[in-house]
């Protein structure tokens, strides 16, 4: 009886193995169901909401929407954002707080999106970039407002 059981087990095992192998054979002959992309030659288009890094939007007149209110700086859990402000002289003679530098530490950022949600003027957004590797980590500290840019008209 032992021999009969033994042969039965071997038979069962090999048939169940063959069933699995049949599926392997199916995919061997049906390449079209294989879904891998040949990165970096072929790149996937990333969805609009993908969180790659924080960028500041500028229009064609090199104007941004950031008022320097530091809402994003307070919302950030990792102290990724540091906002430096200056006092700007208005045409009517009054002084007004304005953005000087928007410092962004990409090396500290976890892409949690809390700064984007916190921004009252939609000045910053997430970019769909993801290849962030550099040779020197200092390059990851970025200045987001473009040189010479100023606040857009009508943004409070």
């Amino acid at each position: 009886m032992f021999i009969v059981d033994y042969i039965k087990t071997v038979y069962n095992a090999s048939t169940s193995l063959l069933k699995g192998m049949r599926m392997t054979g199916y995919y061997f002959f049906n390449h079209k169901e294989i879904i891998t992309l040949q990165y970096p030659d072929v790149k996937q288009e990333l969805p609009e909401r993908f969180r790659g890094e924080v960028v500041m939007t500028h229009d064609e007149k090199n104007e941004h929407r950031c008022t320097g209110c530091t809402a994003c700086e307070l919302a950030c859990p990792n102290a990724t954002i540091k906002i430096v402000t200056k006092q700007e002289l208005q045409p009517d003679g009054k002084k007004k707080k304005a953005l000087e530098t928007f410092v962004y530490h990409l090396e500290l950022c976890t892409m949690c999106n809390l700064c984007i949600v916190a921004c009252p003027t939609d000045a910053i957004k997430m970019a769909q970039t993801f290849e962030h590797s550099v040779f020197d980590r200092n390059q990851l500290t970025k200045k987001l407002n473009a040189p010479g840019s100023k606040l857009m008209e009508g943004v409070e």
């Binding site: 879904i35 969180r51 949690c112």
Partner: protein
């Protein structure tokens, strides 16, 4: 805790180290195993290699900010961790979450559960020697990741649940894509069964390995599929329903054997239950707000708040003590992985060392969850 190097003890037993970097532990976990021949006498897990002190970190973060860090604990069910935290904060704030947000949350939870179980299935089959299932599993998981990416903006650490609802509304493509996925995945589960579940070699490998009795599982604090494989009803979605789970019609899969194969079967049946939950909800997403109006600065009243949710691995609890300030006084997370790991020594004693990966595989350990 004594640190032993590879050595033979005086009575001829061999002490070996598995990990901290070992492919079968899927992370940096260190097991010190005492062997007599091939038989395991003792398994001693050493933790701390990936400790980031998330609980302490949360004490300096506000109630909006701390949620993102819980995605980094059990990274495979990050949505559900975020959900638990959001529920605890909402309990303190006394905020009513809109119906639409509740449905979105449940849908996301179940998609995460499927992604987590699918990854577990592939990784566990790879541990016991079948390499192909891993690639099948990743193909299906990729579709869920794409859905998540489109709606939440990230593939793994979404940070989508916020106190009062969810961060964004659903993407217009969401419903269509989920329906496609559900239809596609139903055929794939049958493929999984053909490949692995009905494979006699696999069954021989898993049956009567790592047996734990119901009483022992309860006393070790095991939850989730590990406890349900012993026949104990323990699904938080049934016991203490949250966010509309009480209205849904789904079954709690139970097995009685308590061995590795029973844990495997429970998870495979949970996949089908999750699909049926998605089926019930996907056509009935109510219109309305996706986020309740909350104050810009959240302050919880003085007191203690606890919420628990069912992650892919078991019960996840969030315990917040508030002194009334901007940040919590103390936060504790009850993670399922830690409790499930504690029974490893009990189930591994007297078994062969080759079966250790089969036991660890079906416990479904995620190391950052154990070592917060």
């Amino acid at each position: 805790m004594q640190y032993e190097e590879v050595a033979t003890t005086q009575d001829g037993n061999l002490v070996i180290n598995v990990g901290p970097q070992h492919p079968a532990t899927h992370g940096v976990m260190h097991l010190v195993i005492t062997l007599h021949g091939e038989t395991i006498l003792n398994v001693q897990p050493h933790l701390g290699y990936i400790h980031r002190s998330i609980e302490k970190m949360c004490e300096s973060l506000s109630y909006r900010q701390f949620i993102y860090s819980t995605s980094r604990m059990d990274y495979l069910s990050s949505h559900i961790n975020n959900h638990g935290c959001a529920l605890a904060v909402e309990k303190g704030l006394q905020v009513e979450v809109p119906e639409r947000a509740k449905v979105i949350r449940v849908l996301m939870d179940e998609l995460t559960r499927i992604a987590s179980h699918v990854l577990w299935w592939g990784a566990m089959a790879m541990d016991v020697g079948a390499l192909t299932p891993f690639f099948h599993a990743f193909r299906e998981r990729e579709l869920i990741n794409d859905i998540m990416e489109e709606t939440c903006g990230a593939r793994l650490t979404m940070n989508y649940m916020v106190p009062g609802g969810v961060m964004f509304d659903l993407h217009p493509n969401f419903v269509k894509k989920v329906k496609e996925f559900v239809a596609f995945f139903r055929t794939k589960i049958d493929e999984y069964d053909t490949l692995v579940t009905y494979n006699v070699i696999f069954q021989e490998r898993m049956k009567n390995v790592g047996v734990i009795s119901a009483a022992d599982a309860v006393s070790f604090g095991c939850t989730g599929p590990v406890l349900r494989a012993c026949g104990v009803k323990s699904d938080i979605r049934k016991l203490a329903p949250y966010d509309g789970y009480e209205k849904l019609n789904f079954e709690e899969p139970l097995e009685t054997a308590g061995d590795s194969y029973a844990r495997y079967l429970v998870r495979m049946r949970e996949l089908r239950e999750s699909l049926s939950i998605i089926d019930q909800l996907i056509d009935n997403i109510p219109e309305g707000e996706f986020q309740a109006k909350t104050k810009a600065v959240l302050k919880l009243p003085k007191g203690e708040f606890y919420s628990r949710v069912e992650t892919a691995r078991g019960e996840f609890g969030v315990y917040i003590i508030s002194e009334g300030g901007l940040t919590p006084y103390r936060i504790h997370f009850r993670s399922p992985g830690f409790a499930n790991l504690s029974c490893l020594n009990h189930i591994a004693k007297g078994q062969k060392i080759g079966d250790l990966v089969a036991m660890m595989g079906t416990l479904d350990l995620v190391i950052p969850d154990i070592d917060r």
